[in-house]
């Protein structure tokens, strides 16, 4: 399937480049709908990759790349179920999203995340599975999960550890702070920082460059230098589910959902 138009995302293959566009208001929050459509993409990726040399993941939403998991959906669904069923439901969701992200992470194609604005939580984790992150100067990165009594659950910790020094990982995880694209580039997370609104253009230029190289060599090089931490990813799911059962999480989610701020993103 060379192109797909969904409610949360779309993709298009053209001139050897796959563009996966996220477009779910208000900021590409990843809930059931997004997950279902991401699964469609993951299923199609193997076939798409045979016809392409690059994948660009980007957002058409002005506010940012992706604000993370759909916390409102998570809260309301948890309230409808008993605690045991809610934890089982969360484990199922995590297993599915991990499959999607692992597929993109290991894809036999060079992948680029073109990010702007809010790149938080699950959104940050989606960017982290890509080989290169190109950020416009207004991008902001954060793992706010600790504010909810949780840890990143979509594979963020093992992937951060793969890419960054442990000190930076501790700073992000333990303070729940965000940092800007310049800082992200300084610590080695982001490969290019570009002007506001220019991330997709820069990603397309980079993708064009990638098209000059032998595809099989690029695939072999990527496989050699980019290990997938499968065991730690499974451990992360287990820890997340254990934490999710704690009362602090329900309180944190309720606070987020009941906030009168449309988007309570400040700590």
């Amino acid at each position: 399937m060379d192109h797909f138009q969904g409610q949360a995302l779309s993709w298009q293959l053209s001139a050897g480049v796959i563009e996966l566009t996220l477009h779910r208001d208000p900021c590409n929050e990843i809930g059931s709908l997004s997950l279902t459509e991401l699964e469609k993409f993951a299923d199609a990726l193997d076939d798409l990759s045979r016809k392409a040399h690059a994948l660009i993941v980007h957002s058409a939403i002005k506010a940012g790349f992706c604000a993370g998991a759909d916390l409102r959906e998570l809260y309301y669904r948890s309230q409808e179920m008993g605690k045991g069923d809610a934890v089982a439901g969360v484990r199922d969701f995590l297993t599915r999203i991990h499959h999607v992200l692992n597929t993109i992470d290991a894809a036999p194609i060079t992948t680029l995340a073109a990010v702007h604005g809010v790149t938080f939580g699950g959104g940050f984790e989606l960017a982290l599975v890509c080989d290169l992150i190109i950020a416009d100067k207004m991008a902001r990165f954060c793992f706010p999960e600790l504010r909810l009594g949780l840890i990143p659950g979509f594979g963020g910790i093992p992937r951060l550890k793969r890419d960054l020094g442990n000190g930076v990982v501790r700073d992000l995880l333990l303070t729940g702070r965000s940092f800007n694209a310049t800082r992200a580039q300084t610590v080695g997370l982001v490969s290019q920082v570009v002007g506001e609104g220019e991330a997709l253009r820069a990603a397309r230029a980079t993708a064009a460059q990638l098209g000059k190289f032998d595809r099989n060599t690029a695939i072999a090089a990527k496989k050699f230098i980019k290990p997938i931490p499968y065991q730690e990813l499974r451990q992360e799911i287990d820890l997340f589910c254990r934490l999710f059962a704690e009362p602090a999480v329900e309180a944190g989610l309720r606070k987020f959902v009941e906030s009168t701020d449309l988007q309570p993103y400040l700590p």
Binding site: K137, T175, F179, T182, R183, D261, Q263, L266, P267
Partner: protein
Amino acid sequence: MLTEEQTLNEIMNLAAAHFKVSRDQLRPDDDFFKTLNIDSLQALDLLTRLEHHFHVEMPDYELQGVSDFRTLASRIQARL
């Protein structure tokens, strides 16, 4: 180095220009969420612009409880 008064002035100028509010409407002790009519997402956007403008890095938890320009200026001044 800028004085805190200069920093405060630059913050209000930048905020007015970006959020398209008349500079005359902004006062140092104003609640900037109300005066600029912004939410916390837009406040983060403002923070990023201020970081670039002043060449500082500000952990966003330092903005906890900060809602007026004067206090924001003192937080930024502490990082110059």
